[in-house]
Amino acid sequence: MPIAERTATVVWDGSLARGSGTLESGSGALTGLPVTWAARTEAPGGKTSPEELIAGAHATCFTMALALVLGEAGTPPERLATDARCVLDEVDGAPRITRVVLSVRGGVGGLDEPTFRDAVDRASALCPVSNALRGNVDVTVEATLDAA
């Protein structure tokens, strides 16, 4: 049962090492974003990469799930800030996404630390990207509640 469907287009010219591409998204939020292999292995210089986009997908998905959980509990967040780091490594001779580390800071009035941690766990169980990565990618979630 689909809930949401979105598109993105990449146009690539040339070989992996020397070529380059551009990325556009259906919403128009990503327009003419440069993509290169060099951005993944050498100096990135403002170009994006699949690892960065997975980090972006996971951070946005998890943060929205946490906003939903906190809102439903009657404690909508003033501010959630999530930092995601996605690691690509070689496993048995093939490139694999091995690890994602999410680090979330919450500014939520009237909430204690255990309740916030519980909301974070429930958001992890709700977030489709977390559910997709669990079991094949090592996902770590660090949560900090900012002092009110």
Partner: protein
């Protein structure tokens, strides 16, 4: 296959990062996204089900589609070079669908439509190269292990209507 080149390409762990800031609850709130390396600047983020969602705001589904399209395209570019059919241009459109299966919200499906402009590339050669790229592309592998249906359609540019 060119194992030495593979080793070179993935000898070091690669990382990507992103930061999301969100205010208020899911339906009335809003947020922003910044990629770690600054591409695209600050992107607007809205829940696709909210009233304020519209053109120009990105979403997790769209970012997953962008990750898959960019990863598969680069992998295919490399595969074609190794098979002696370097592409002038590869254009890939990805459509990624999130949904519910057995009560759990997951990535259900990712569809890629690819057009390849390369000298002398037959449909059979492209099909084979696409199959190999699908086995190497880390995002394809991650989505497949997660249970998502991966649907890849590729055609040489010369057969474009």
């Amino acid at each position: 296959m060119a194992a030495a080149a593979d080793k070179h390409a993935t000898a070091h762990a690669l990382e990507g990062g992103a930061v999301v800031v969100w205010h208020d609850d899911l339906t009335s709130g809003e947020g922003s996204l910044r990629f770690g390396l600054g591409a695209g600047g600050e992107l607007s983020l809205r829940w696709p089900g909210s009233a304020s969602y519209g053109p120009g705001a990105t979403s997790p589904e769209e970012l997953a589609a962008a990750a898959h399209a960019s990863c598969f395209t680069m992998t295919l570019a490399d595969t074609l070079v190794r098979r002696g059919r370097p592409a002038r241009e590869i254009a890939t459109e990805a459509k990624t669908t999130f949904g519910v299966a057995a009560g759990v919200r997951i990535i259900l499906r990712s569809q890629l439509e690819i057009t390849v402009d390369a000298d002398g590339l037959s449909e059979a050669e492209l099909e084979h190269a696409t199959e190999i790229a699908g086995r190497y592309c880390p995002v394809s592998n991650t989505f497949r292990i997660a249970g998502a249906e991966i649907d890849v359609r590729a055609r040489p540019a010369t057969t474009r209507r």
